[in-house]
Assembly symmetry: C2
Amino acid sequence: MSGYSVIPVAGIGEVVPGDDVAALVLTALEASGLVLLNGDVVVVTHKIVSKAEGRLRPAVDDADYRSIIEEEAAAVVRRRGALMITQTRHGFICANAGVDRSNVPGDQAVLLPLDPDASAHGIRRKLEAACGVGLGVVVTDTFGRAWRRGLVDVAIGVSGVDAIADLRGTTDMQGRVLDVTEVAVVDEIAAAADLAMGKASGVPVVVIRGLGLAPGEGRASDLVRPAAEDMFR
Amino acid sequence: MSGYSVIPVAGIGEVVPGDDVAALVLTALEASGLVLLNGDVVVVTHKIVSKAEGRLRPAVDDADYRSIIEEEAAAVVRRRGALMITQTRHGFICANAGVDRSNVPGDQAVLLPLDPDASAHGIRRKLEAACGVGLGVVVTDTFGRAWRRGLVDVAIGVSGVDAIADLRGTTDMQGRVLDVTEVAVVDEIAAAADLAMGKASGVPVVVIRGLGLAPGEGRASDLVRPAAEDMFR
């Protein structure tokens, strides 16, 4: 393969409830002269998806914020001081049920989309119809990790590509069968996208071009480890 | 920013103990006509670093493999069937103490480098001296996650860039102070690199160009969460 490129899509302004994310992306692409190609993966930070879907709640003070988190969380896995490690209704384990107050105007908190896989799917269908190409769409959020400092972006919604590349049963360069090689491709895509988004630069969408992924039916829910496999709940 | 690109470095063959990884990279770059530029980040999968450093042990059967893991692990965090979740001497939490049998010739297991940050530093110094530019070097391994299925590449050795971009105290687009925004930039770099490496395609080195990172003194050991902060040991 000849490598790939990560292209930020500038010019998407503040998103408000009722906005059409795909339409905003298309307008920004047109303004920047960027044409989507077959096989491109469009990565969208969930914050603009949540805002467009009206997933906002008033949060004037810390008490409001905490009660929203408790309402959003399906379960609290750990609690230390103000930090809650939670399981969301989608099954994701993350801090504060994914409820966030940064990059939100006024005294509001932004919640995760109700069904981020469906959000990704809707955006993909509209972009594909408008551009006449096959795409992947990944919706991302920023998660911590149990044993590594610092946050990384991960996929919380997926459409058009596999979430996990299952290389089990294929062979390595030595002809040895690879026994445990399920790569979380869409999480690596989310991380790659975040490097071009920056945290405060206001670029909520990037296009990843040249990955050469086959079309797939993956969903971010494929990434949720079943409780029976979980050794650290 | 105008985006970035991820360029695989083809043509690095089987690496054996005593090889000079930087020299192998320079030869492969020259053969492919690729010239390193100031600010490039060179990402190297640890497997070729470990092989060059002679971090190989005979492992004819599963019993050999298990005894190497037990020797390499500083602590076993969880054990389920044949799977051991371990803490390595470096402080990383990962399966099987990072000991691996795929992509290794003959009946051998490959261990993690003794000091991957030092390995990264040595490679960087040689590449910088040969090319007359400032670089980052990241050495990677493939880790699982507690609550997400699938593996992702992470940084286990770093030189020339910060491991974590500390955005605490900066403001978002709304002027609100970002309270928790330490981004594990080098883990996102490792993930981005893996998308171009593939698992079985034999590309152990990629160049990431255009990230625009400032030079830094980071180390992968910065990513190890201190025991006092660990809620899931």
